[in-house]
């Protein structure tokens, strides 16, 4: 059975809020270790780093404080459960249903019950962060999906995500469209942190003289309906559109508008980001204009985080940060991707396949837990 999981944007949006407001100020009043609060570039993870002592007084238990039950988060939970099973950890998941207080309470409950590791995509950074710090101070392993604080932060490189889509579209334009294309770029002005995606897409196309970006506009709202309305406007001015790029939701709306106008063609390239199930369904058809969706495999990084939690509890050094690398899903690799989703352990245990999904940075263990990350980390930060 195929698993389809959701997206990271909401989590990243929360992390982005920390940048202008100064996240480290949240915990300044506390005397306990605040971790690394100044942004810095981390070295690649060293798997051969010296081991530390085993965290004392903690159970080999893995808790997952979910923000909600959307598919993407369910995928993380699936990976965590698989890892816990493979590494002999007990596993428990609680969904806060987007309630930050409830989520913080769930996390504190894990602390009180001596859970050795907590994984969480915070609903609200300001309310959840103190609870996460309590886990760290207890000697436990904390992994967050995007925002700090955490011993391991998982993030998605936005520029790379956009670049993967842009490069795939550029290859299609070169190989199939003869280097000439009218491109509609559907951006997402409401989420500033996603800007690198579209910068990367523009960068991928800017050196192609035959490419004409006929629209660079943010649908409002950023949804299937917003994409549909925007595409109808674009078609009034540009009847011939060859390429549409954006989030899966808006690109699916654009596809609906193209079909209504009778302007959809098999040789068009519609590509989105997020691995939306409907987008994957369109790709699976094989003969439609939808050619690719950039996905982040949440089961794979969920499994990885579960494994790192086990390593931490075994006294091993683990990465301080981890990129979940974007994968361009096309009709050619869709089967393999779905197989990877279903068996994330196999991916993680195969170094080659693991490196295709994950990239790790920095080292931390129980002994050096004071150096947890307490700033919004991104591998693309300069």
């Amino acid at each position: 059975m195929r698993r389809k999981f959701g997206t990271l944007p909401k989590l990243m949006g929360r992390a982005a809020l920390l940048l202008p407001l100064g996240f480290s100020a949240v915990a300044l009043a506390d005397d306990r270790p605040q971790g690394i609060t100044e942004p810095q570039i981390l070295a690649p993870f060293n798997p051969y780093a010296a081991s530390c002592m085993v965290p004392p007084g903690l159970d080999r238990s893995l808790g997952f404080a979910q923000d909600n039950n959307r598919q993407f988060i369910e995928g993380v939970g699936f990976g965590l459960a698989q890892a816990a099973k493979d590494r002999g950890l007990s596993y428990e998941a609680h969904s806060a249903n987007n309630d930050a207080v409830a989520q913080a309470a769930d996390i504190r409950s894990f602390v009180e019950r001596k859970f050795g590791a907590v994984i969480s995509p915070p609903v609200d950074v300001f309310q959840v962060a103190p609870a996460l710090q309590e886990v760290i101070w207890s000697g436990g392993y904390v992994a967050t999906v995007v925002p700090p604080p955490a011993t391991t932060i998982l993030n998605a490189p936005q520029y790379l995500t956009g670049k993967v889509l842009g490069d795939d579209a550029a290859a299609f334009i070169r190989d199939t469209l003869g280097g000439k294309a009218n491109v509609a770029l559907l951006t997402q002005d409401s989420l500033q942190f996603l800007t690198p995606r579209f910068v990367a897409i523009r960068d991928a196309l800017k050196d192609m003289p035959g490419v004409n970006i006929i629209a660079d506009i943010s649908p409002n709202p950023v949804s299937e309906d917003g994409g549909y309305a925007t595409m109808k406007i674009i078609l009034e001015a540009h009847p011939n559109v060859d390429v549409v790029l954006g989030a899966d939701a808006v690109v699916l709306g654009a596809l609906r508008a193209l079909r209504e106008a009778g302007r959809d063609r098999p040789d068009q390239y519609l590509g989105g980001i997020d691995g939306d199930p409907t987008a994957i369904f369109e790709i699976e058809k094989g003969d439609g204009p939808y050619k690719a969706s950039i996905a982040l495999s949440s089961p794979v990084f969920g499994y990885a985080l579960g494994n790192l939690a086990a390593d931490w509890l075994d006294g091993k050094s683990v990465p301080q940060a981890m990129d979940i690398l974007p994968v361009a899903l096309t009709k050619d690799n869709l089967k393999q991707y779905e197989a990877d989703q279903a068996d994330p352990g196999a991916v993680f245990n195969d170094p080659v396949r693991r490196d295709a999904y994950l990239r790790m940075y920095g080292n931390i263990c129980y002994d050096s837990r004071d150096r947890y990350l307490n700033f919004p980390w991104s591998s693309e930060a300069e």
């Binding site: 002005d189 006929i214 406007i233 009034e236 540009h238």
Partner: protein
């Protein structure tokens, strides 16, 4: 294969016809392409104006937006200086754009949408400026941060790029069409030139071949003429030689005949001298005169270049002079005079005539003046119709018609025979006194 004059004319007309067709083709294609060029020229001008209006409109909105943003950030009114001008310019260009796009494509919806965006954009800018001037900075900033202005500009840019792209496509298509037309003109001109060159070349080849053939024919005829002239010259030379040889031979024959007759005459004379009978002597003397008359013709032929005819005045004068001498004894006191016209007569006939004259003069000397002196006259004159008349007359005793011949009658028979050979008749006319024997005969001329 030889070219006939007819084929030259036909091919020349064919070449002219083909050349005319090529020229006509060039002219028609040029006119057609010129018409198309005019159409695309108009289209290009309209596309250029449309593009220009779209660019001007976008520029005006961007100028107004820059002005608004400057004022929003600084609060300095100086940034608003170009705002109103840009707004007016935008409205004017919007009107121009609407007018230009009305005749092109089904763009009504797009134009209406662009007008609405334009209006909304300036409303948003007016509103923020108003709020800023009223020192309601928070409200102005909130409106600013709503991204409404950017979204409107992004949407407007879609239409601007659409208009600019479509006009660029029209311009490109127009230029491409012009380039294609120019290519066609070059191609048609080149083909026409090639056809005309081919026609001229073909005509030149035909005429050249025809001229060469004429020249060759002329040279061939000249060569034939030269050869013929050589052959004629050789033949003529041969004939001249043959003629000369024949004349020489004939002259020799005449000479020998004349000598032979002279020798016969001498033999007759010797014979005469051996005789005692006067009658016999006279008969021999007459015979000798007749022989002389014949030989004299041959003598004249011997020295003449014309052996076919004899000038009678020359021949008869010699004969008559001879008779004067030989008849001196027969007619004591008879004189002989003559008046001869220069008449030409065939050689054979001349011999006959000489014998007739000898007989007639001898008769006159012998019988006209039995009593002594008298005059015998020989007259030769040319008559009309190619005839001549010889008259031997005297003033003697006359001749009686029907009277028996004096002497042997041989002379009369000779005269009759010779006159018959001349196809002439002898007429004896009585004169008082005397007799005239007239002989009318055809001459050479």
């Amino acid at each position: 294969m030889p070219i006939s004059t007819r084929s030259v004319i036909v091919s020349s007309f064919a070449f002219l016809f083909v050349g005319l067709l090529a020229l006509l083709g060039i002219v028609l294609v040029t006119l057609w392409l010129n018409e198309r060029a005019q159409f695309y020229f108009d289209d290009v001008v309209e596309a250029r104006d449309t593009r220009s209006a779209a660019v001007e409109l976008r520029s005006a909105i961007q100028t107004a937006e820059s002005s608004q943003r400057g004022f929003m950030v600084t609060g300095n009114e100086i940034y608003l200086a170009p705002f109103d001008v840009a707004k007016t310019q935008a409205q004017r260009q919007m009107g121009i754009l609407k007018q230009l796009l009305s005749s092109y494509r089904a763009s009504d919806t797009a134009v209406e949408r662009l007008m609405a965006i334009n209006t909304a954009k300036f409303d948003e800018m007016d509103q923020t400026i108003t709020l800023k001037r009223a020192r309601h900075d928070d409200e102005a900033l909130a409106l600013f941060r709503s991204n409404k202005g950017k979204a409107l500009m992004d949407e407007a840019n879609i239409f601007f790029s659409g208009i600019i792209r479509s006009t660029d496509d029209r311009l490109t298509a127009g230029v491409a069409e012009q380039r294609e037309n120019a290519g066609w003109v070059r191609l048609v001109s080149a083909l026409g030139a090639l056809v005309i060159l081919a026609v001229v070349g073909g005509a030149w080849i035909v005429l050249s071949r025809y001229t060469q053939e004429l020249r060759a024919t002329r040279d061939e005829v000249t060569a034939l003429n030269t050869d013929l002239e050589k052959r004629v010259g050789a033949r003529t030379a041969d004939l001249v030689m043959a003629r000369d040889r024949a004349q020489l031979l004939l002259s020799e024959v005449n000479h020998r005949v004349a000598n032979s007759l002279a020798m016969v005459s001498s033999l007759v004379n010797l014979q005469s001298k051996s005789l005692t009978d006067e009658a016999a002597k006279r008969a021999l003397a007459e015979t000798q005169d007749r022989i002389f008359a014949v030989s004299l013709v041959h003598k004249r032929l011997y020295g003449s270049s014309d052996v076919g005819a004899v000038r009678l005045d020359e021949y008869l004068s010699g004969l008559l002079e001879h008779l004067k001498t030989s008849l001196r004894h027969d007619g004591q006191g008879v004189s002989l005079s003559y008046e001869l016209a220069p008449v030409l007569l065939k050689t054979d006939a001349s011999i006959n005539l000489g014998v007739v004259v000898t007989e007639l003069v001898t008769n006159a000397f012998k019988y006209a003046y039995p009593d002594g002196a008298g005059q015998v006259r020989v007259l030769l004159r040319e008559l009309p119709d190619g005839k001549a008349e010889l008259v031997v007359e005297d003033d003697g005793i006359g001749r009686v018609d029907g009277a028996p011949a004096k002497g042997t009658g041989l002379g009369s028979r000779i005269i009759t025979a010779m006159a018959s050979g001349l196809q002439a008749g002898i007429e004896y006319r009585q004169r008082n006194p005397g007799t005239a024997a007239a002989l009318t005969f055809p001459t050479v001329a």
